[in-house]
Amino acid sequence: MSHTFIEILRRALDEELERDPAVHLLGEDVAVGGAFGVTNGLARKYGTQRVRNTPISEAAITGVATGAALCGLRPVLEIMFIDFATLALDCLVNQSAKYRYMSGGQLAVPMVVRTQAGAAGGAAAQHSQSLEAWFTHVPGLVVVTPSSPAEAYGLLKSAIRLGDPVLFIEHKRLYAMKETLVENAELPQIGKARVARPGTDVTVIAYSAMVRNALEAADDLSRSGTSVEVIDLRTLVPLDMATIAASVSKTHRVVIAHEAVQSGGVGAEISARIGSELFDELDAPVTRVGCPFSPIPFAPELERALLPGTPNIIRAVRDLSG
């Protein structure tokens, strides 16, 4: 059966609520479906004690989820836009991420923060950011960035079952994407990337919505005879360097593509690690495709001009292989 990204998130949540009574959802409007309808119907099914509306209090609800996680619940918290995770960062960074460590292993924070990121359709500067890099810089956090409905399904379930605080980032451009789920597949292991398309000439490393662009670019480039291998990272922490290394040892050329601001983005870390760990494998500089150093503008013409997409990846691959 084919599901949209939103439908499949709902199904994963539904199944996890069903499976484990410790799982609880909370967030603004989640009892009435949330801003994007992801949790539609779940409060009716599991009650408003387990699917809880909250006030507009990102700091407190993140703290409440963390405290509940310390005491055996498995909260799944929705932060409506990643831009508002700024309000939850004290707790996420200073408490949730560090609790296991600071307590010398006495406590754990098994919690998932679902949030929605990325630019599309004029959401403008405060509702369009891609801030995942911040969270990859915080030891103790796990960062998951699904690239399609089927990926989201397994990754969300695995994230909920993990014993660590997870930031689960949904790209708004993927919400309407449809995909057929292979039923009863094994759940993915957190920390394993996937080769989304095998190839031999150039490796394109991407995650989240940018995987689609990478696949589009690979399609296009294959017509002109360039074979692109696309890696979908799936999780940014842990970062699966083994899968990256296997690919780079084959292609010797790498493009890293993400929508986030290029400077200080996740691509910097990946590039640095490839440059250091796979120096002798590289036939050309690692190229990054990312957003120029600017806030996201409102006007669609400006948004389009700023955001990296399929053409940027094609150009980067051509420059490398040309």
Binding site: D29, G121, H127, L306
Partner: protein
């Protein structure tokens, strides 16, 4: 304190305080209400047609708060607002065309198309901005008030926010600081009973937002925000106090949003009865009935409304005619000097 002439929309309205407004003042305010109502209607229409980027939030039904408060402001006074800020911006006197053009993301928009519905800024008019982060502008408004205080200016700062924003910690932090520093900031809460799709009862045990002022000893009042006469009178008193240096004030205006949370909201969480009841609270209808009671002819009012409508429609047409911003300028305005953007390579 007497004020000079000021604008509502693009028209100059003289408000003589503390004397009560004259009939002609009320008529001008009636026009201002219609200007906002029409403006929001056009946003809705064009958004539905896919011509408005993003997800605009309309202030339809809440116009009396904007007009009643802003009637007391000068261009030097600073105004901050929320995601639902079109009406406040217009009521303070920003140009209809330039405001609408911004909401359409056009090159002649107030922010050259960079800001959009949730980030309208009009510095020349003292509109220092809307924000998309609930509660985010509260401390900024206090900061603007601090700047006025520090510079010995007589101007004040006003911030509009929703009832949902009182769930945000920064609301409480800001009130504490504003009271402590005796800042000339007017907190105007538009309590429309909802934050997105969730009613106030599910957000807080605290029914009235004005209750939050009590611990701080901050003067506060809850008023009927759909009655322009009340809003005008109470805001006038509060602002007069602020100008005398008596410190911050919280004005809670009970109001209703007649539209969805944003354009496209199906409003399943509201019953038909509720929607019908809200329509009957229309602030424009209420002012109209009041003015008719005071002897103004209905036809005169209808003419004023129609004039306002036409004015806005023409401004909207002009806004739509403007080109989009030039994509090659997308990296402008990030820093004070382009060289500082160097890191972007």
């Amino acid at each position: 304190m007497a004020h000079g002439p000021r604008e509502l929309g693009s028209e100059v309205v003289t408000v003589n305080e503390p004397a009560a407004p004259t009939l002609s003042d009320w008529k001008r305010m009636y026009r201002a209400l219609w200007r906002i109502r029409t403006f929001e209607g056009q946003v809705q229409r064009l958004a539905a047609a896919g011509e408005v980027p993003g997800f605009p939030h309309l202030s339809t039904g809440q116009e009396a708060v904007a007009v009643g408060v802003c009637a007391h402001l000068t261009r030097e006074d600073t105004l901050f607002t929320s995601h639902r800020g079109h009406g406040h911006t217009l009521a303070k006197g920003s140009d209809v065309q330039a405001t609408f053009a911004e909401i359409l993301g056009r090159s002649n928009g107030l922010c050259r198309g960079r800001g959009g519905s949730m980030h309208v800024v009009d510095v020349a008019n003292g509109v220092l901005g809307a924000t998309g982060v609930v509660g985010g502008n509260l401390p900024l408004a206090a900061g603007a008030a601090w700047a006025a205080q520090a510079k010995g200016k007589a101007s004040i700062s006003v911030v509009f926010f929703g009832d949902g924003a009182t769930g945000a910690g920064v609301f409480h932090e800001t009130v504490n600081l504003a009271v402590l520093w005796k800042l000339p900031v007017l907190f105007v809460c538009e309590n429309n009973g909802y934050a997105e799709f969730t009613s106030r009862e599910e957000h807080s045990n605290v029914k009235l937002v004005s209750a939050f002022a009590t611990p701080y000893g901050m003067p506060a009042k809850t008023i009927d925000g759909n009655d322009l006469l009340t809003v005008h009178a109470e805001a006038g008193d509060a602002i007069a106090g602020l100008r005398r240096g008596s410190g911050p004030f919280l004005l809670e205006c009970i109001t209703y949003r007649m539209a969805g949370h944003f354009v496209g909201d199906a409003q399943h969480y509201r019953s038909k009865e509720e929607l019908t009841a809200i329509k009957q609270k229309c602030p424009i209808e209420r002012l109209k009935r009041h003015l008719i009671d005071r002897g103004v002819r209905e036809t005169e009012l209808d003419t004023i409304g129609e004039e306002a409508r036409q004015e806005v429609l023409q401004a909207v047409a002009r806004a739509r005619a403007a080109p989009p911003p030039d994509p090659s300028t997308v990296l402008d305005y990030v820093y004070s000097a382009p060289a500082l953007s160097g890191i972007s390579g």
